[in-house]
């Protein structure tokens, strides 16, 4: 469950303020596959980072799972909340260069007791079996993003925040990634930000983002 109430974010650059989020309110529930669509600079990334507890809003409250306002928590508690409830997927993958595929996925599962089996299942599910011991530099963009999705899934979160996850991918890889997110979504929430006109399959709620304003279609 995600509850946003009047969430605003202003950046000040050299004295002048840029409004990246403008009084955004929304309620999302388990099973919501949410598409945030808007041009570059409209505030999508800011919204995802704010929901993910990575960027404190200027005003408003962000509730995730049982927590009413995650920014009322201390840093450590918020880090723990991220580890347990939130998975990130970035456009630029952000894989750890010196860990192999299996190691990168295991990073996401560090708060689970015995991640080994879990990681193996994810490797199979994202069809990375033959890449298990390869480093990120040896992978294609599509494979990198599949690793990143597997890593986000590894902590068995409640929410996945995916920032233009298919931006750098071909159609085949894009659909592997979207399929995996959709499958996750049966038991969780996916927020997917995109600037493309095409809306991915499975999306059941769509929001338009423009100049920091978020409107459901």
């Amino acid at each position: 469950m995600i509850r946003l109430r009047d969430v605003s974010k202003q950046y000040s650059i050299g004295g002048s303020a840029v409004t990246a989020l403008d009084a955004v309110s929304m309620d999302l529930n388990q099973g919501d596959f949410v598409c945030l669509r808007g041009p570059s600079g409209s505030g999508k990334t800011t919204l995802l980072l704010t929901i993910g507890g990575m960027q404190r809003p200027t005003s408003g409250t962000v509730g995730v799972a049982e927590t009413e306002d995650i920014y009322a928590l201390g840093d450590r508690a918020r880090a723990r909340l991220r580890a347990h409830h939130i998975g990130f997927v970035f456009q630029l993958f952000h894989l750890v260069p010196y860990l192999n595929v299996s190691g990168n996925i295991a990073l996401g599962a560090r708060n689970r007791g015995n991640p080994g089996e879990h990681v193996d299942a994810l490797i199979d599910r994202l069809r990375l079996g033959h890449r298990r011991y390869h480093k990120p530099t040896q992978l294609s963009a599509g494979e990198c993003q599949r690793v990143a999705v597997a890593r986000a899934l590894a902590s068995q979160p409640d929410v996945i925040l995916a920032d233009e996850p298919t931006g750098n991918l071909d159609d085949e890889n894009a659909s592997i990634v979207i399929d995996a997110l959709a499958e996750f979504c049966r038991g969780g929430i996916v927020l997917l930000a995109t600037h493309s006109e095409r809306e991915p399959e499975y999306v059941n709620r769509a929001f338009d983002v423009s100049g920091g304003l978020v409107k459901e279609r």
Binding site: A79, R82, Y98, L99, A106, R151
Partner: protein, 381 residues
């Protein structure tokens, strides 16, 4: 994935920065190790050089006529030979290399020379050291260059001194001092020649206080000696004493300076390398944040890395330093090479101190890693 495994993977994955940091610490540890190991030899060598300056303390009977003493170089008074035994029995004495001396003038033919009898060297309890001067064997003498020249005596000659037959065991080279007109024999022989059985007129010694005149060592030494031998006075050759003390203190200061400079440079290097490393890892650290790593874990990544580098550097550095000291030390300190020995305690000390040191040098990079804004690096497209 534990922090330790993560650190090890990172070190393995970024070998260049790792090797460069490890190199700095290893070099510092190796330098300090070889320095400490050779320092023992250095000190011994210095001591030896300083010791060659000679005795700097002279204990003479209190009734000595000081004018006579300075004009002739010896006391006109005598004291019992067992004074030396009494002095050498005192614990915690600030004197060492104790020798009793009987000194007098003697006529051989129509020439006047100095005659010097020396006892075996003695040391206070538990402080025996290799003797500074070797006693002359009984029935033998060593002669100065002028004695040899004027008497036309050679090594091996059997000569007569005041009716006592003696053999010349050694002709000394020209020293440019009263040594050149001196005949040196064993204490008992000289006592017989001078007719002063069981008497000595001086005890020579070296102080081991190593204080400069400003510390007023004379008072300390006098107080010590007059407790045991109340009827004596102490004459200190302050030039020699001071040279000795100053040399040792200079050597100590130099050692400290070198070690501190090495440590300082290594710390700066390690700190800068850690800084470059955390810069390089900005997006990685942002990712760890997104994955739910707290500040402690992020700091742990940077500091743990430093500790591991420190551990490795301590092991390799002490080994390397010991090897260097053992290989190159003996050619520098030729006389005291045997003082250069591996020191296991040094290894344990390094194992403990180096990781702490590396971590301390990485505190600023760790703080930067913790405070960096992860959102900033994660939004890069």
């Amino acid at each position: 994935m534990t922090i330790i495994r993560l650190i090890c993977s990172e070190l393995y994955g970024r070998k260049t920065t790792f090797l460069l940091s490890a190199l700095a610490v290893t070099a510092a540890v190796a330098l300090c190790t070889s320095f400490v190991l050779t320092e023992a030899a250095n000190q011994r060598e210095t001591k030896r050089l300083m010791r060659d300056l000679g005795f700097n303390l002279r204990v003479v009977p209190a009734a000595t006529d000081m004018n006579h003493f300075y004009l002739t170089g010896f006391s006109d008074q005598t004291m019992p030979e067992d004074s030396l035994d009494r002095l050498a029995a005192v614990k915690n004495l600030s004197y060492n290399h104790l020798v009793s001396v009987l000194h007098g003038k003697i006529e051989v033919g129509d020439r006047e020379f100095l005659l010097l009898g020396l006892s075996e060297e003695r040391a206070p309890p538990g402080r025996a050291k290799p003797p500074m001067v070797k006693a002359v064997e009984s029935s033998q003498i060593h002669i100065g260059s002028e004695v040899a020249k004027q008497m036309q005596w050679k090594k091996g000659d059997k000569v007569d001194v005041n009716g006592h037959p003696l053999q010349i065991a050694r002709c000394m080279p020209e020293m440019g001092s009263t040594d050149d007109v001196r005949i040196v024999g064993s204490l008992s022989d000289v006592q017989k020649i001078l007719g002063l059985n069981n008497q000595i007129n001086e005890i020579k010694a070296i102080d081991c206080l190593c204080l400069t005149p400003a510390d007023n060592p004379q008072d300390i030494l006098k107080a010590e000696i007059t407790r045991t031998l109340p009827d004596t006075r102490v004459v200190m050759l302050s030039n020699i004493a001071e040279a000795r003390a100053r040399q040792r203190q200079t050597s100590d200061r130099h050692a400290k300076f070198v070690v501190v400079a090495v440590i300082f440079v290594a710390a700066a290097w390690v700190g800068v390398m850690a800084l470059i490393n955390t810069r390089q890892r900005a997006s990685e650290i942002g990712l760890f944040r997104a994955l739910g790593y707290g500040s402690l874990s992020v700091a742990g990544l940077v500091l743990g890395r430093a500790v591991l580098i420190g551990l490795l550097a301590a092991i390799i550095g002490t080994a390397l330093g010991t090897w260097c000291a053992m290989t190159y030390g003996p050619s520098i300190f030729q006389v005291t090479a045997r003082a250069i020995q591996p020191q296991p305690t040094l290894f344990w000390y390094a194992i403990l101190a180096t990781p702490l040191f590396a971590a301390a040098a990485s505190l600023i990079p760790a703080a930067l890693a913790v405070t960096q804004d992860p959102a900033q690096v994660l939004r890069r497209q």
